[in-house]
């Protein structure tokens, strides 16, 4: 079943990648939080786990590996340890909660967490001028990461 789903989402992404309709994305300020869940995909479609895997380790994108260890990336040196290991993360959280954590971790872990919000405009002071009003990741990149994290069982 897992393979079928993965294959299916790959096909969906193949379609999406060629069209990339940004207007359909939920804007950062319009993301609907239902308790600890963001139930709906930010793009209206499932993400691409293979793309998500790349975003996870890319230092200029998610750079998740900077803070989180992940056995699925044992080919890469130096996994961070500021946050918890993400091995088996799909067994600890449901998809809508993982989406919330990625969008704005502070909505789940309170202001105390050092985890940046990757799709929020609730950011720190004095944001670099060219980044004002911009999120760290795009809606598509967040969905790709969600899809990837859901493979870490």
């Amino acid at each position: 079943m897992k393979t079928i789903t993965n294959a299916l989402s790959l096909v969906c992404v193949g379609l999406l990648a060629s069209t990339t309709v940004l207007a359909a994305d939920v804007a950062p300020n319009d993301v609907k939080f239902d308790g600890l869940s963001v139930n709906e995909s930010l793009t209206g479609a499932a993400g691409d786990p293979d793309s998500g895997r790349k975003i996870f380790s890319n230092r200029k994108q998610g750079n998740c590996l900077a803070c989180h260890a992940n056995s699925d990336m044992n080919d890469q040196l130096f996994h961070g340890e500021v946050g918890p290991s993400l091995d088996g993360v799909a067994g600890r959280w449901q998809e809508p909660q993982l989406r919330t954590i990625l969008v704005n971790a502070k909505a789940v872990f309170t202001e105390q967490t050092v985890m940046p919000g990757f799709y929020t405009l609730e950011v720190g002071a004095d944001v670099r001028e060219d980044l004002i009003g911009k999120t760290i990741l795009s809606a598509q990149q967040v969905e790709d990461l969600v899809a990837y994290l859901m493979t870490l069982k």
Binding site: L65, H79, G80, V114, P116, E122, D126, V127
Partner: protein
């Protein structure tokens, strides 16, 4: 909702476990910093009253064995080239008054001993704290008839390193009772905890909450400033404190304050205080 809370509890439990399992690797290393088999440095000290951490630890303890070894040997320490350059500047006449630093201050080993452990100090003339870079510039303009050094330019870094090096091994201790030092400490503390940039991080996010842990290959230290100017191996040169402040703030994807601005002078007062009791290590060697 209850289910969510339970899951959160589980997640936090997992966080705790994963930290416990890695903490052996991540601890600052248990080692003694002795320079040239002679000068025993205080690299761990009981924190001053009001400090959020129980113990202040030099960044030296967080570095690799190779990097640590370089600092223990002044012949190997590439920062010492800057110190030697600073000594030359100390003895070089500059400006309309025909003076060098040595003309008034003679042998820095005597006259500058302790200076690096006690700055920033209160400066009555400007009604602000003044750091060593600022004191050098004041002397150049008022006493030597020379131009002030621009940030990180001219002899600023080597001369600062040379002056601070005269206090090698002496414990850092600021006098916060001078002038309005305390209010600058307060302002510096605010800056320390202020979250900045798109990444929404403060100094405390890394250096207080997470010191001892790794961010990728980087072992997060307490961010103590007792070794500045510091020789950074990856940049192959001495790096000034305000350069490092700016680099850290920049990395949160924020606009960063000017060197020697009120914001960063407050931060220098506060972060220097956070390292109270640690030996001056200038020039420290870091990654």
């Amino acid at each position: 909702m209850k289910k969510h809370v339970q899951q959160l509890g589980v997640a936090i439990g997992v966080i705790g476990l994963s930290f416990a399992s890695t903490s052996i690797v991540a601890e600052p290393v248990d080692d003694k910093l002795i320079i040239d088999d002679e000068i025993e440095m205080i690299s761990r000290a009981k924190a001053p009253e009001g400090h959020p951490l129980p113990e202040v630890i030099s960044g030296w303890h967080y570095r690799t064995p190779e990097t640590r070894a370089i600092e223990t040997d002044t012949f190997q320490n590439p920062g010492m080239l800057g110190v030697e350059q600073g000594e030359e500047i100390w003895n070089t006449v500059e400006g309309s008054e025909g003076k060098s630093c040595a003309s008034c201050h003679d042998d820095a080993a005597t006259s500058m001993k302790g200076v690096g452990a006690a700055y920033p100090k209160w400066d009555e003339d400007s009604s602000k704290p003044i750091n060593i870079e600022g004191r050098i510039n004041k002397c150049r303009v008022e006493n030597m008839g020379a131009e002030a050094y621009k940030f990180d330019k001219g002899g600023q870094k080597p001369l600062t390193a040379y002056i601070k090096h005269q206090s090698l091994g002496m414990p850092v201790e600021l006098d916060l009772s001078q002038g309005e030092m305390q209010s600058w400490w307060d302002q510096g503390k605010e800056t320390y905890y202020k979250r900045t940039g798109q990444l929404n991080l403060s100094c405390a996010s890394c250096h207080e909450q997470n010191n001892g842990k790794y961010i990728r290959a980087d072992h997060l230290s307490q961010g103590n400033v007792n070794g500045f100017p510091t020789y950074r191996l990856k940049q192959n040169k001495l790096i000034s404190l305000h350069n490092r402040f700016r680099g850290c703030i920049r990395d949160t994807r924020a606009e960063f304050p000017a060197a020697f601005s009120d914001t960063l002078m407050g931060l220098e007062v506060y972060t220097t205080w956070r390292g109270t009791g640690l030996s001056v290590e200038t020039p420290a060697v870091r990654q």
